[in-house]
């Protein structure tokens, strides 16, 4: 078992190193790091925080900074991973990979790991620099628990997007279709998720003209369990003060996070198992 894990890690690390050295990483990494730092710096300064947002602690800053993770880091996963399978399939390299004596499910996991590690690297750098900036602005370090939760949740979110993107990449017959599927999924969860939320809430008799009402808030949280961004936000909210805590139980949020971690990964591994290169 440990040999298999070592092999998955070694191949994943190899792929991650190659992606880190790629041209697109040269463009994406500064953007990710800059945006995370800017978010931490900006949200930690009470003078420039947008009206209506309350920032009392470093945990609040981390929560608000998570919006930049949702926008840019998830997009970076899409841009780093859209050709992970589809390009190798087109060039014939996938056929060589799949004839190696490595179980296909292990190969699938190594591909996930490779894209995830490369997307995590600039994100982690951004988070650590951001932490220093928060301390500089507020004079207090974020609590270790808050920071750990921020990193773990972010890691999970990027894993979910990685598995969705690689699944799209394995299903697409060409690179264009792979980009479209990946960006389409990203757009749906980042920008369009509110539409199904409103439709479902309306159909359940909740007044959708008042999105600040408790009834809408409750139904929105439940629907958010079916969106990676929603689960991420709920996980982050569990570290906020009691007034801002989600109404859902922590267990249901974590169960949703576990399902999101397992289900797309399982579907992707299964897809690779049966893939005809």
């Amino acid at each position: 078992m440990s040999d298999r894990l070592q092999s998955i890690w070694a191949v994943g690390l190899h792929d991650a190193k190659r992606r880190v050295r790629s041209q697109r990483m040269l463009i994406l990494a500064p953007l990710v790091i800059f945006l995370l730092c800017a978010a931490c710096w900006g949200f930690a300064d009470s003078r420039i925080v947008p009206a209506g947002l309350v920032v009392n602690s470093p945990a609040d800053v981390l929560f608000l900074s998570s919006t930049s993770i949702v926008f840019i880091c998830t997009l970076s996963v899409v841009l780093l991973g859209f050709d992970a399978i589809s390009k190798r399939r087109l060039t014939g390299e996938l056929a060589i990979d799949l004839t190696q004596p490595m179980p296909r499910s292990d190969y699938a996991l190594s591909q996930l790991l490779g894209v995830w590690l490369s997307a995590m690297l600039p994100t982690i750098i951004g988070i650590f620099i951001g932490t220093f900036l928060i301390q500089r602005q507020m004079g207090v370090w974020p609590a270790l628990g808050d920071l750990s939760m921020f990193i773990i949740s972010t890691g999970l979110l990027l894993w979910w997007y990685t598995s969705l993107q690689l699944l799209a990449s394995s299903m697409a017959r060409d690179i264009g279709a792979s980009v479209t599927l990946g960006v389409g999924t990203w757009l749906f969860f980042v920008f369009l998720w509110l539409i199904p939320t409103l439709v479902i809430a309306q159909s359940m008799g909740v007044d959708v003209t008042d999105t600040t009402s408790l009834a809408f808030d409750r139904i929105q949280e439940r629907i958010d369990l079916f969106s990676p961004n929603g689960v991420y936000q709920l996980l982050m909210e569990t570290r906020l003060s009691s007034a801002s805590q989600p109404h859902l139980s922590k267990i249901s949020i974590w169960i949703s996070a576990i399902v999101w971690s397992i289900l797309p990964t399982y579907v992707f591994c299964s897809r690779i198992k049966h893939l005809k290169p």
């Binding site: 040999d3 087109l90 060589i96 799949l98 190696q100 004596p101 290169p277």
Partner: protein
């Protein structure tokens, strides 16, 4: 060493229906293929485009699952152990990076759990040692073929499956390639090498498998195939001085272009039988021959003879291969 029994694999082809838009029907592939690959043999897999050569190699390399039939590999009990024994080189891998040949080979070494130095040695063996750190996008097609060959040789496989490996290789590299295959075969490795050109493989392969429409239409040593198909009936002769006045009965004689310093040249076709040594010796003891050789059969001729199709139809019949619902 490797045995296929009634192996069948057919690619699904989409045929959307009103209420079943995802419906597919069995398309091209291989059907009812029986093959026994023995140790130390170089097997030439020949057939026109779309005959099923690549599909057969992919089935043998476990890339494609069998719909029907069996694949047995000697000494392999699991799929992974089977893959350890087999090295596969796909047709025209375009290796366009980013990355270098060294990085690619090291990645595959990691997947095979073997030492990087073995991979580096293989890059040296295929002549890429000095270019191993160059970006793959700067490689020519021939260099990419060499890299593909190096990847197939990783792990010292006992069975080597090579799909159109000569494409893009210059004549010097082709010579070196032939020598390498012979060395591997002498060491007991079995090699299956595909090509759509029979002449490419004549100098390499010990035995041949002829494919058409996903089926094996003939197999064995080339001269046996040609004999079985009645293709040893044509002989080219040329010589100096006076030509033989008579060739005997049942021989069709045709003038052919002269080569340097030849006074006459004919193509002789036996209406029945083949050009045995005795028949050749009967051609005329007075004549001075400068050329006396069996005319090699072209792929179209062999396929045509094996399938009974007209030569013009043999190459293009593959286009109508998709069958209606089964």
């Amino acid at each position: 060493m490797l045995e296929l029994k009634s192996a069948t694999f057919r690619y699904p082809v989409r045929r959307p229906r009103r209420f079943r838009p995802w419906a597919t029907i069995p398309g091209p592939g291989i059907r009812d293929v029986n093959l026994n690959l023995t140790s130390g043999t170089i097997l030439g897999l020949v057939g026109p485009n779309g005959a099923g050569k690549s599909t057969l190699l992919q089935v043998m390399s476990n890339l494609l699952p069998l719909e029907d039939g069996e694949l047995n590999v000697e000494g392999a009990s699991t799929l992974e152990s089977c893959k350890e024994i087999i090295g596969y080189m796909p047709e025209r891998v375009t290796w366009n990076g980013p990355g270098t040949a060294q990085q690619e080979i090291e990645r595959l070494c990691t997947m095979r759990n073997i030492d990087f130095t073995k991979g580096h040695d293989l890059l040296d063996l295929v002549g890429l040692g000095t270019r191993s750190r160059d970006d793959l996008s700067t490689f020519s097609q021939g260099m990419k073929q060499r890299l593909s060959l190096a990847t197939a040789l990783l792990g010292d496989p006992k069975i080597l499956l090579l799909d159109e490996p000569l494409n893009g290789l210059d004549p010097v590299a082709q010579g070196a390639f032939r020598t390498l295959l012979r060395q591997l075969s002498d060491r007991g490795s079995s090699v299956v090498i595909s090509s759509h050109t029979l002449s490419d493989l004549e100098r390499i392969a010990d035995e041949f498998v002829l494919m058409h429409h996903g089926r094996i239409v003939a197999n064995g040593p080339l001269n046996e195939i040609e004999r079985d198909l009645g293709l040893l009936a044509t002989l080219e002769i040329a010589g100096l001085g006076n030509p033989p006045t008579s060739f005997g009965e049942g021989i069709e004689v045709q003038d052919i272009p002269l080569e340097d310093d030849e006074d006459w040249a004919y193509r002789l076709h036996l209406e029945d039988g083949e050009w045995t040594t005795q028949r050749r010796s009967e051609l005329g003891s007075e004549a001075t021959f400068t050329r006396l050789k069996q005319v090699p059969a072209s792929l179209e001729t062999v396929i045509s003879a094996a399938t009974g199709l007209e030569i013009e139809d043999a190459g293009f019949a593959i286009l109508s291969e998709v069958e209606p619902d089964e």
